[in-house]
Amino acid sequence: MSTGTGASDLLHAEDTAVDEIVAGKAPVAARSPLQLFWRRFRKDKVALVAGCFILFEITVAILAEPIRKLLGAPPPNLQSTKALDEFGLPLGPSADHIMGVDQIGRDVFSRVLNGAQVSLKVAFIGTGLSVVIGVSMGMIAGYYRGWVDTAIARCIDILLAFPVLLLGLGLASACSDKDGCLGGVLQPGLPVVIAIIVIANWPYVARIIRGQVLSLREKEFVEASTSLGASNMRIIFREILPNLVAPIIVYTTLFIPANILLEAALSFLGVGVQPPQASWGKMLADATSIFDSAWWYMFFPGMALLLTVLAFNLVGDGMQDALNPKSGQNR
C-alpha cells in the first residue's frame, strides 16, 4: 500500500462492477457497448483532460531527444561545474537550466524528460506483460478447472500474501550484483524492475480474470457453443475473451499508475534503474540530501510523478464510470 493505489481497491471493490460490465448491460438505444462507453467517457471532462495530458506526456517521452535539442538544454548525463556556484552547490532554475541542476551539475529538465521515458516504458511494458500472463493464467485456471485450477489458484494466493515492496526489494537486492540472476538472464536495472512488476501484478489480474471466466463459462452461450461442437480453444478465444476485454482495459489503466509508483519506489531505494540513467524516483532519492536548499531537484521530478500518476488515475476512474455508470463508485 505504501507505493500507492490500486491493488486493494481492486480486489475488494470492483467485482460486482465487473459483473455488470460482463453482463453487457445496455440502456434504451441499441448502440454497441463500445459506442456507449465512448459516449459516456466523453462526458467526463476531467478524464478527457487527463487523457490528453497522458498522450502529451507519451509524445514528450518518445520525442525527448529532439525536444531537448530544440529547447537547447544540455544532455541529461552531462556533468558541468559551470552550473554550480562558488561553494560547489547547485544553482536553481535559470535561463540555461529551466529546472535547475543537481549536485553534479546535470540539467534537471533533461533528466526529467528522460525519466519520463523510463517511467512510461517500464509501466507499459511491465503492465502489458502482467496482463498477458495474468489473463492467460486466469483463463486457463477458470476454464479448465480441476487440478490445474487448484494449482494456479494456490500460486496466486501465495504470491498475494507477499508484501509487494518487500518482494520487489528482495528480488532487486538478490539480483543487484553484477552477475544478475537466473544465470545472468536478469540483469540489474530495467529488466529486474520489469520482472518485479510482472511478478507483483499478474496474480491480481489472474484472480480477477479467473473469477470472470468461472461465471462466464456457466452462461448459456458457452453451452451453446460446446453443443455445436466448438473446440475449447475456439470457445476461449471467440466467446469468452471478447467479454473480458472491458475489465481487462479497466484493470490495465488502474495498474499502470501503481506500477509507475512501484518503479519510482524501487529507484528511490536504489534498486531500480541503474545510474547514470535518469529515473524520477532516483532523482528524489538524490534530492533528500540537498532539498532544503535545492528545492527544484525535489520539486520537479516529484511533480512529474504526481501529475503522471494522477492523470492515469483520472483516466482509470473515468473509464470505470463509463463502463458501468450504475455502480456510482467514483461519481
Binding site: H12, A13, L166, L169, D179, G270
Partner: protein, 323 residues
C-alpha cells in the same frame, strides 16, 4: 466456527512454509553470483568468504541448505531459537536486531493507523451520503491527489514546509529528530510529520473505498426496509449502512497494518526513523543480503499473521461466514 479457524490455521502453516521456500529461492537459488561473496558484504577477504561458506553450509546441496534454513528458523529444531541469519557487516544476529527496532515501527504504524481512520472514514461516509455535491467532488479530488503522490515526495515536501530546522514554516521537528528525542511525548512530537505523511495516502484510499462501498450498500434492500420501518436517517446510515459496508475495510486494515509492521521503508527512510524499514534500507545500500532476507521473511510472516487474525475477526463481524 472452530472448524473454520482450524482450516485457516492449516492454510497459514502451508503459506508460511511456501513463503520460507520462496524467500530461500530468491536469495539462494536466483542470484548468479557466489552466495558466500554476496553475503560477505563489501570488499571481503578470502578468509571471510571461506568462513562464511563453511558456517552457512553453502557448499552443500540446495535442498539440504533449505532444510537447514527451516531448521534455523523454527525454535525447537534449531540450536539457538529463532535464527533468521547473521549479518557479517554489522556482526549481529538479524532477528534480535529486527525485534529491537520493532517498537519504533509499531509506534509509527499505530499513530498513522489511528490518524488515517479518524480522517478517512468520516470523509468517506460524508461523501457517500452527499454524492455528487461539491463537497464530494472536492474530497474525492483531494483524495486522488494524495493517492497519486509518492509518499517520499510528500515527506520531502512536508519537511521542506514544516521542519523546524529547514522549513518555510518551522513548526514541527524535522527528520533525524526522532533519534534525538526522548520520552514518549518527545518521540511522539517527532513523529507528527511522519504520521501525517504516512496516513495521507491511506486516508485517501480508505475514504474512496468506504465511499464506494457505502454508496453500493445504501442501494441494498435492507436499507429500504430500515427506512420503511421509520428509523432515523442517522440510524439507517450508521447502524445499517456503515455496519454492512465496513467489513471489507476491516480486511484491508489488517492487511495494511501487516504491511506497515514489516517496515514502512519509504517513510522511515525520508524521516530517518530507526525502525525496521530503515534497517532494511541500510541493508540495501550496503548489500547486506542476510539482513534483507531476514526482513523480507519477517515482513511476510507478519502479513500472514495479520491476515489470519482478520479472517477470524471477520467471522465475528459477519455471521454468515461462520458456517
Amino acid at each position: 466456527m472452530a472448524a473454520y479457524i482450524a482450516r485457516r490455521l492449516l492454510w497459514v502453516v502451508f503459506l508460511l512454509f511456501m513463503i520460507t521456500l520462496i524467500t530461500f529461492v530468491i536469495f539462494t537459488v536466483l542470484p548468479s553470483g557466489d552466495p558466500a561473496v554476496l553475503r560477505a558484504g563489501r570488499q571481503p577477504s578470502p578468509q571471510l568468504i571461506a568462513a562464511i561458506r563453511e558456517q552457512l553450509g553453502l557448499d552443500k546441496s540446495k535442498p539440504v541448505q533449505f532444510i537447514n534454513y527451516i531448521g534455523n528458523i523454527l525454535p525447537f529444531l534449531g540450536h539457538n531459537g529463532f535464527d533468521f541469519g547473521f549479518s557479517y557487516q554489522n556482526q549481529q544476529d538479524v532477528l534480535p536486531a529486527i525485534l529491537d527496532r520493532l517498537p519504533t515501527t509499531i509506534f509509527l504504524t499505530l499513530g498513522a493507523v489511528i490518524l488515517w481512520l479518524c480522517i478517512g472514514l468520516p470523509i468517506g461516509i460524508l461523501s457517500a451520503v452527499r454524492t455528487g455535491t461539491w463537497y464530494d467532488r472536492l474530497a474525492m479530488g483531494i483524495a486522488l491527489v494524495f493517492i497519486s503522490a509518492p509518499v517520499y515526495f510528500l515527506g520531502l515536501v512536508a519537511l521542506y514546509l514544516f521542519a523546524n530546522d529547514i522549513g518555510v514554516f518551522p513548526i514541527l521537528p524535522g527528520n533525524s529528530a526522532y533519534e534525538q528525542a526522548s520520552g514518549f511525548f518527545g518521540k511522539a512530537e517527532a513523529l507528527i510529520l511522519p504520521w501525517f505523511v504516512l496516513a495521507a495516502a491511506f486516508a485517501a484510499v480508505y475514504a474512496r473505498f468506504l465511499r464506494g462501498n457505502l454508496i453500493d450498500t445504501l442501494q441494498e434492500d435492507f436499507i429500504r426496509t430500515a427506512r420503511a420501518k421509520g428509523l432515523s436517517e442517522r440510524k439507517v446510515i450508521f447502524r445499517h449502512g456503515v455496519r454492512a459496508a465496513i467489513t471489507p475495510i476491516v480486511t484491508l486494515l489488517g492487511l495494511d497494518i501487516g504491511i506497515l509492521l514489516g517496515g514502512a521503508i519509504l517513510t522511515e527512510t525520508v524521516f530517518n526513523i530507526p525502525g525496521i524499514g530503515r534497517y532494511a534500507y541500510n541493508a540495501i545500500t550496503q548489500s547486506d543480503l542476510p539482513v534483507i532476507q531476514g526482513t523480507v521473511l519477517f515482513g511476510a510472516f507478519f502479513i500472514v499473521m495479520m491476515s489470519l487474525l482478520v479472517d477470524i475477526l471477520y467471522a465475528f463481524i459477519d455471521p454468515r461466514v461462520r458456517y
